[in-house]
């Protein structure tokens, strides 16, 4: 056991709280950015931050303290009991990919928007309304 692991064991609750807190904080920050910032890029950044927060939350939920990697290997057949849940990780990977795609698409749209409107202020992008 490394020193870090010991530290980790000692402050397990604290760290759990920290991880959860961070993820929720990320979500809130992301939300804030999406809802309050006027610049399109900032909004997209907010969206990404929010996604990141959610992903972190998901991964954190799947984590079992002191668990092993969710790999069945020879000699480690009964690892299933102490294994970290693999599903959230798999899902988060997918979600990250999707988030990436969305971000890319968003940025390309922003470029298009900027070309047409010469502004990236979301308040001015309301020619379609009512």
């Amino acid at each position: 056991m490394t020193e870090f692991q010991i530290l980790f064991e000692q402050h397990k609750d604290l760290i759990t709280i920290a991880v959860y807190g961070t993820s929720i904080a990320l979500i809130v920050i992301g939300l804030y950015a999406v809802l309050m910032k006027k610049h399109l890029i900032k909004i997209v950044i907010g969206l990404s931050i929010m996604d990141a927060g959610i992903h972190l939350l998901f991964v954190a939920i799947g984590y079992i303290s002191g668990g092993t990697a969710p790999i069945f290997s020879r000699g480690n057949e009964n690892a299933g009991a102490r294994m970290v849940d693999p599903v959230p990780q798999a899902l988060v990977l997918t979600a990250i990919v999707i988030g990436f795609a969305i971000t890319a698409l968003a940025l390309s749209l922003i470029i298009r928007l900027y070309k047409h409107h010469h502004t990236a202020n979301i308040d001015q992008l309301n020619s379609l309304k009512w």
Partner: protein, 493 residues
């Protein structure tokens, strides 16, 4: 069984990725291949439906893992019905757009078809998947292709609409993921049947919070007020076949997702009332907004939102008759709204702007298209002898059975609003305008076939609804029979 549900998804996806390659071989491949694929999907639908009628529902397992652990595709009469509907409408929309897309440049048609294929594949995926996370993935597939298609015309408004859609779609995916997280922590499963089975053990508060996340996220897809800000923009800016696809395919998938979650996964009291109220509010607000629209496609978009509101009301009522009515209405709405978008697109084509004002006397230019539009408008409002009448009739009957007096009156009053703006347009179309130059864009043969087949459907079903009612009936039964669904999935292994 040679044909399995997975063909539904695989065929369009393969086609989507093969199109760029095939265009190298022949430049028309991008236009033809989707048609073949979608027609194949139609065949798949028929085969599967027949199979279901004979042998009961199908649960296909992907990648060898059995149901609770692996991803499974479920074709019940309910999902089969929706998937068939989506396939057939997708094919007709392709048929309609076959020549329309010729006007696009070679490269663009490729992207268009890819995105369109992905959207339809994703929608069918949403409908037939039995896995909640898979649902999420398909929603995202639909979402990304839909965002792109909205902004397909690289115009200023298209980009704007696309961005708004994307922003809100991002929220949807985030909340959906949150909901899935909560559900997963509580039930430890992602299979809908298993989640449903384990749901009674979940703490009430958790259940409700998860449900709320689902409701909000899927509400966005199902165009529920106040989550539907994207819809009018997206509908009005997307290419017309895409608008039709939104109305006929994507919204169906969205409503399906919402209903599947609410009906099958959760057993929470009050959600029916919620659906009913929010459905009514969506309908009301959408129709109110539609009444003074100046843009035809935007008006149709609001009208779509209104119709989806009515569907939600019917699902909220929740009796068998109501579900039957709702499913019937989804079908009717898909058909009729596609028809309206198709015909409306020809109007727009000929008037150069999308304004309703410039439709005056267009009957002289495009008699047949105007005729079909009028028919569609009347059918959508719910006039007999068109199919729209029966769906509305059954929904109201079911509401009456539950003694929702004010709901009935409210729906009917909102219908009056709907009627007002539709008939304004119809009135304009059939105006006796003095002068009129011949139409510059006559509808092409394939478009006429597509539109006529839809119109024929409307009339035939309107006069003789018994043709399709048994299917819808079994679909409604399948949706409501939750325990059977769970048992079948978990024991069909």
């Amino acid at each position: 069984m040679v044909i399995t549900p997975v063909h539904y998804i695989i065929a369009p996806l393969i086609a989507a990725f093969a199109i760029p390659l095939l265009t190298k071989i022949h430049k028309d491949a991008a236009r033809v291949v989707p048609g073949i694929v979608l027609f194949y999907n139609v065949i798949v639908s028929f085969v599967l439906m027949k199979h279901i009628r004979e042998h009961g529902m199908i649960s296909e397992v992907l990648a060898g893992w059995q149901a609770p652990w692996g991803i499974n595709l479920v074709v019940t009469p309910f999902t089969g019905y929706l998937a068939s509907m989506v396939s057939i409408l997708g094919f007709i929309i392709w048929l309609y757009g076959f020549r329309f897309k010729r006007t696009l440049k070679g490269g663009e048609i490729k992207f268009y078809e890819i995105l369109q294929m992905m959207m339809i594949a994703g929608s069918i995926g949403i409908i037939i998947t039995g896995d909640i996370f898979n649902l999420f993935v398909f929603i995202e597939i639909v979402g990304i292709s839909a965002f792109s298609l909205t902004a397909f015309y690289r115009s200023r408004d298209g980009a704007e609409a696309g961005f708004k859609y994307l922003l809100i779609g991002g929220f949807a995916s985030a909340f959906l993921l949150l909901g899935i997280i909560i559900i997963y922590t509580q039930t430890g499963s992602l299979n809908m049947a298993q989640i449903a089975e384990r749901m009674p053990d979940v703490p009430q508060q958790m259940k409700i919070i998860a449900l709320i996340f689902f409701l909000v996220a899927l509400g966005i897809e199902a165009e529920m007020f106040p989550l539907n800000g994207w819809a009018p923009d997206a509908y009005s800016q997307a290419p017309t076949p895409t608008s039709a696809t939104f109305a006929a395919v994507v919204s169906v998938a969205g409503v399906y997702a919402l209903i599947r979650v609410v009906y099958t996964m959760f057993d929470v009291e009050g959600v029916n009332n919620y659906l009913m109220i929010m459905g009514f509010v969506s309908m009301l607000i959408a129709e109110i907004a539609a009444i003074s629209q100046k843009n035809l496609k935007r008006m149709l978009a609001y009208s779509s939102m209104g119709q989806i509101g009515l569907v939600l009301i019917a699902f909220g009522i929740g009796s068998k008759l109501a579900v039957f009515g709702a499913l019937f209405l989804m079908l009717n709405h898909g058909v009729i709204k596609s028809l309206l978008f198709m015909t409306g697109s020809y109007f727009i084509y000929n008037t150069e702007d999308k304004k309703i004002k410039s439709l005056n006397g267009i009957y002289k230019k495009l008699p047949f298209v105007s005729f079909l539009f009028g028919l569609g408008a009347l059918a959508l409002i719910g006039f007999p002898p068109f199919s729209g009448f029966w769906s509305k009739f059954y929904i109201l009957m079911s509401a009456a059975d539950e003694k929702y007096i004010f709901l009935i009156i409210g729906i009917l009053l909102v219908t009056v609003i709907e009627l007002t703006y539709y008939l304004r347009v119809v009135g304009r179309i059939f105006f006796a305008k003095e002068e009129g130059e011949p139409a510059s864009h006559k509808p092409s043969v394939n478009a006429i076939i597509a539109m006529s087949s839809l119109a024929l459907f409307i009339i035939v079903i309107g006069v003789y609804p018994d043709l399709i009612m048994p299917h819808i009936q079994s679909a409604a039964e399948a949706l409501l029979d939750k325990s059977n669904y769970i048992q079948q999935i978990l024991s069909l292994n």
